[in-house]
Symmetry: C2
Subunit: 126 residues, 2 copies
């Protein structure tokens, strides 16, 4: 475990617990969140805490599948389950500032899809 | 740069060049590729090289946006541009065996989406 893995583990643990004070303490005052597929952006700790606290109502849960920790950077793969029990992977890339706080989050939510028929002979399905 | 970052950089560089011999040399004999959103799986180096060589025809290009290298693990974010010029992010998590070869790839291709209206007041768009 590295500091970066510990930090991202604490981030997701705080989100799962709805412990927004702990969550806020892990992100930089000037944190920037972006979701490239929806072109959403949230800037600053207060706005980002509000986005997380109010933007995702319902009894969702999350489970960490994998965290990769580099040097002041990390990536995570979580499984997010909504209040209807539907599960979806969530993928984030993180930048971490010299003080050890998360300064940038790039967030992706891939949807299920059927593979193209023209490569069906090259794969198995599971 | 770490060995893991170098390895994944070489992997994407070989794919961009269609240098399939170089590409194949970077993955383990028993490599397993999975795309969780489409539940596609490819097992073994020969099948995985064929999948890459034949499964993605056309004049596509890719650009590395970010690589996070951990200890025998890595994650990458690339931008893939198809022959029509349409760009899409591609996200991969890698496992790396003790010999330094890629042994598992988990691959995700998020599509663009419109954010839910009920959180529009909590975000900017860009």
């Amino acid at each position: 475990m590295t500091d970066e893995v510990d930090l991202v583990t604490a981030y997701w643990t705080a989100a799962e617990k709805r412990d927004w004070d702990a969550f806020g303490a892990l992100v930089a005052e000037d944190v920037v969140y972006e979701a490239p597929p929806s072109r959403e952006r949230v800037q600053g700790r207060a706005a980002y805490m509000r986005f997380n606290r109010e933007g995702f109502p319902g009894d969702w849960h999350l489970r960490i599948v994998k965290i990769v920790g580099g040097t002041r950077t990390a990536a995570s793969w979580i499984e997010f389950t909504d209040s209807d029990g539907a599960a979806q992977p969530g993928l984030c890339f993180f930048e971490i500032n010299p003080a050890g706080a998360i300064s940038r989050i790039s967030d992706f939510w891939p949807e299920p899809y059927e593979p193209p028929a023209d490569r069906a002979h090259l794969v198995e399905r599971y």
